[in-house]
Symmetry: C2
Subunit: 402 residues, 2 copies
């Protein structure tokens, strides 16, 4: 993406947070108010408290909007944006939907309520790290890369454990919000959100639905403890860390000469890659395997946790791919009709391909671990996913003389 | 719905089953074939078996299509349809989507694999029935009503237990398929379907995805045992069994004089209502409570099982309602903009309203029962729902003299 394009994508995300109140009231509160008003007097008399409940719902949405306005205000400063919201690129309905989903993400990564959910990976990861790299001083030079790092909780946890950690994110909704949280010097539980307010199914009580959650659950600056070895790169995982060439050109893998050089520098540069609810997010999982293999040093480790819920499985869109000419850098053989769906490898196939084709060895593997995703642990929320955990080691390349 | 309208809705469902092959190949197989062909030679060499796998996938879809063609052939006979598919009403994309979802429904209701899932309600229901109505002869005159009966498994199970059972369904996808299954004289496991073929996420292996399932898991004619007390009504639950007047006129509650009379006859006509994954399907849950109360005799029972996953929670459409003039039968005060979303009562609110406003007493209640819905019990499928079970008794009306 050019700088101009990046600024536009950032503005759309910023603008979506800015417009959350109007959007959420229109989508969530207003139709329900209309529905309530349309009931017969008899039915209104059956649930006379419903109007008052809708009033409380509205107030909770407005408090969420205050939170987002603070995010916007700080972000304009952090990112050096045009301070005039009226001049920002217009958010799409997809951008607006994300402002609702982000509350679940905040809950997942930064609330006390979801500590057990985070521990499903963290406990396993730490068991491995404590055994493999127990020495604090060695940890300072061990680079860990976390693609699809979301709001950065795992980055902070591993920095706190002494590692040198780089997160990577492609979504500006995530990048804006993570920077706000990570850099904001917030006191523990200094911010209040109402993350359940948009969800009307699977609710134990309406009080439960409208309850506040205080975040973050930790004082982040204390966890970072003056350590400098934390960063977040903005961009597509494959574009930044993949092989210099050899992957098809696309919206997420550029032919830009500077990017090609950046990828070259990233070869074998990282001891550990951790993919957490990430491996199933792309439209070509082989590109991800190629990239993980490229960025890992020989003998490096890939830790994966999450389900195989392929993001594009039911998406009927097409994307554009092409071949990058290795000599001239030109893009040729452009194909404008590549379906985004496909290559949704089963667990066995994914593991087999990783081992046979991408030179990984299985060190540990556990399947069917039950996990929610920003799941409310109290109440009757949807149960969630069967997740897989694996620890793979990148085989050292052997030289064969033919 | 007029007879003409009903014929059209039936034809659309029939037509959707008839066109399943083309639809499923276009949506599911073809884009994946395109994706596969678009890969670089290098990436093709990483998963050389993928093309062959897609070929098997295609064959499984075509076998599913054979099954549906048999359903269509028999249905034309059962329902006396126009035998010329080219003259049938065109299915919408919603109708076509349903042809994929119906495989999950067949799995849920008629496979051995999902017996444990069915038992979550059946075991509890039978415990109650064996205690309350242990006598076989009494059972013959006990009427059970099952709104949203789907493919009729619960009807058959309760008829086999000796009860007099009426199912009710509004969906012609369900009505066509249930009649095919119930009336088809199929040998046990006489039909083969490939219900997992449309699902690429959460798969243990591709063999697992492409495996056949034999249905039905029982010889249905043996279970029915010559008993006549089984029926399935076609239409909306509220329209057929609700109070004669007093609910707002809408697409699912008509002002038709014959229907009003039919509702009057159905007052206090049933000893037990069983709602299984049904209570959250409507756009006005109070209409459902009103209807259950109206159709039950005093002292009758309402058994509910399922989650609170409100069907219309995220649906932005509007529906039309109006008031039925009790004297003239005319529809007045028509409101064309009633949101379908809203009234998604929490568990506590729903139970409280049922008891305080609709004269139910709680006999038994269990919350947070984990259940899938046509869930593949082997493998790593999505976990499913937290369901609630309750047994309510309709209080006898007491007369107060003011
Ligand atoms: N190609 C890509 N490069 C980098 N990040 C990507 C990406 N495709 C998707 N993502 C990001 O991957 C994340 C998946 S959601 C998981 C977030 C976090 N790891 C957690 O476990 O909570 C999203 O934030 C999404 O924006
Ligand atoms: N107003 C209404 N009247 C009758 N059936 C309805 C209805 N609204 C939805 N339904 C039906 O309710 C069913 C819900 S799915 C549950 C099916 C079955 N009871 C089972 O447990 O497997 C669907 O078949 C749907 O068509």
């Amino acid at each position: 993406m050019s700088d101009g394009e990046e600024a536009r994508v950032l503005e759309k995300a910023l603008s979506s947070y800015y417009h959350y109140e109007e959007y959420a009231l229109n989508e969530i509160w207003k139709p329900r108010m209309c529905k309530w008003m349309s009931l017969s007097n008899l039915q209104k008399s059956k649930i006379p408290w419903y109007g008052k409940y809708l009033g409380e719902l509205k107030r909770c949405i407005m408090k969420n909007a205050e939170f987002y306005r603070l995010v916007v205000q700080r972000s304009v400063a952090y990112w050096g944006c045009n301070p005039n919201p009226d001049q920002w690129s217009q958010p799409t309905s997809y951008d607006m939907d994300k402002t609702v989903l982000m509350f679940t993400q905040i809950l997942r990564e930064w609330s006390q309520e979801c500590q057990d959910e985070r521990d499903l990976l963290l406990t396993r990861l730490r068991a491995f790290l404590n055994q493999e790299i127990p020495n604090k001083f060695e940890r300072r030079v061990v680079k860990v890369l976390i693609p699809g790092a979301g709001l950065g909780r795992l980055i902070v946890d591993l920095v706190n454990d002494g590692f040198c950690v780089e997160g990577n994110e492609t979504s500006y909704h995530m990048l804006l919000l993570s920077r706000f949280i990570l850099n904001g010097e917030h006191p523990k539980e200094g911010l209040t959100i109402y993350p359940f307010v948009h969800t009307f199914s699977h609710q134990l009580s309406h009080e439960h639905q409208l309850r506040p959650i205080r975040i973050p659950d930790v004082r982040i600056s204390e966890m970072l403890n003056g350590v400098c070895s934390m960063s977040m790169s903005a961009g597509s995982f494959v574009d930044l860390y993949g092989p210099p060439l050899g992957i098809k050109w696309s919206e997420y893998y550029s032919a830009d000469i500077e990017m090609i050089r950046y990828r070259e520098q990233n070869a074998s540069s990282v001891r550990i890659v951790v993919t957490n609810f990430f491996i199933d997010t792309g439209s070509n999982i082989l590109d991800y395997l190629e990239t993980i293999s490229h960025v890992l040093e020989d003998g490096g480790y890939w830790v994966n946790f999450g389900p195989l819920m392929y993001h594009y499985e039911n998406d009927s869109q097409v994307e554009v791919t092409g071949d990058i000419d290795p000599t001239t850098g030109e893009v040729k053989n452009v194909n404008r009709f590549v379906p985004v769906k496909g290559l949704e490898l089963s667990l066995n196939d994914l593991i087999q391909v990783a081992c046979d084709q991408y030179a990984f060895d299985i060190i540990a593997k556990e399947i069917g671990i039950k996990s929610g995703y920003g799941r409310d642990p109290t109440g009757i929320a949807l149960l969630g996913y069967m997740c897989n955990y694996w620890l793979f080691k990148k085989r050292k390349k052997s030289f064969s003389i033919c």
